[in-house]
Symmetry: C2
Subunit: 214 residues, 2 copies
């Protein structure tokens, strides 16, 4: 049975790999699971056919036979749970790795999504210049806390896990705004993630879509 | 072995149950797991002792013997995975319930957190009145999509699950701003959650702390 995911037909970020299908591609590459991609236009994402798969009209989705999932974190968890390489065998270490998955998505990413909204949806508003530093400060607080916890470790808790995969993916959104710069250990952590062969294959696969479709 | 969670020593919301320990209390009540609560002050949350448990200096945490977890979603999942009542037995239904857990926390909650920040952290800013409707519109989009998916079903996917527990908890943040009003099916969904005996016990337990400590 072939796994099929959905991804944007045209890259919204010029091939930088920040669309969430890269996270799912990365997880599939880490565990060596082949997959097919169904490209979908921004218009088609809001059509009933896609909304039946993804009630919030986004990508990625995940189909494996008659199982259909949406929501990146859940898809990455599903892949991690059914394959070797993304979650530790030890029950306690596994629970801690899952903790980092949720921490990436529910504690670290929300202020970063605020910044994305502030720039993309409110960049032309009269308050934008005055407000952006406030939003960035909320991110800085989280980065400071994360930097302290990571210390000089390679990954967040022992071996590389789905928690690191999601945390690195979330932090990658901050490369361009340059917010990682104050924390060399976080920059190095993200670079270690990007250096993984599985990440490179995932990144190149989404870039190939951009190169082909613009 | 007794489970111990942490909660605010003083309720930041006047006993409305919106602090995240209520979500964990609710999960523990659903599965019938007794627990102890260690109350913690806002100052102590930023001290090294607590930061060792929770790197982002928040509540709740979860301790069971030598296993220590943080991050509400991860704690609820841990409870759901090790007990009966919060995740279906069928593998596919289980994966879909987990999808709703992540959807609640990473798709529905982030715009709601933006509204919380807009009101609490930026309520005195000159842009507040003009900006709030924009933030609320982003929530309305999500509510509309969620309302369509829920339809006239009792819960999001079959029987009540940890996905519903988290989604209801997230939506409860919108009761006071009155944003649920346009979607009677979502209001009824939240009311069904609040009517569960386990939710009532969890709500009363956090309220008792507020009543005792103010």
């Amino acid at each position: 049975m072939t796994v099929t995911i959905t991804a944007f037909e045209r890259s919204p970020d010029g091939g930088k790999g920040l669309a969430r299908d890269t996270r799912v591609r990365w997880a599939l590459e880490e565990v060596g699971q082949p997959y097919e991609v169904r490209l979908i236009s921004f218009a088609a994402m809001k059509e009933p056919t896609h909304l039946a798969l993804h009630p919030f009209g986004q990508i990625p989705t995940f189909e494996d036979g008659d199982l259909a999932l949406f929501e990146t974190g859940a898809i990455v968890f599903h892949i991690a749970e059914r394959n070797v390489g993304l979650l530790p065998d030890d029950a306690k270490a596994r629970a801690r790795a899952i903790t980092w998955m949720f921490a990436a998505l529910n504690t670290v990413e929300p202020p970063i999504l605020e910044l994305v909204n502030a720039r993309i949806l409110e960049g032309d508003k009269p308050w934008s210049n005055e407000r952006l530093p406030l939003v960035e400060d909320r991110i800085r607080t989280r980065l400071q806390q994360l930097s302290i916890r990571l210390g000089d470790a390679e990954w967040l808790d022992g071996a590389f896990s789905a928690g690191d995969l999601l945390m690195v993916s979330v932090l990658l959104r901050l490369k361009l705004p340059g917010l990682l710069g104050n924390h060399p250990n976080l920059s190095a952590y993200v670079a270690r993630g990007e250096a993984r062969p599985a990440y490179k294959r995932a990144f190149d696969a989404q870039l190939a879509v951009f190169t082909a479709n613009g």
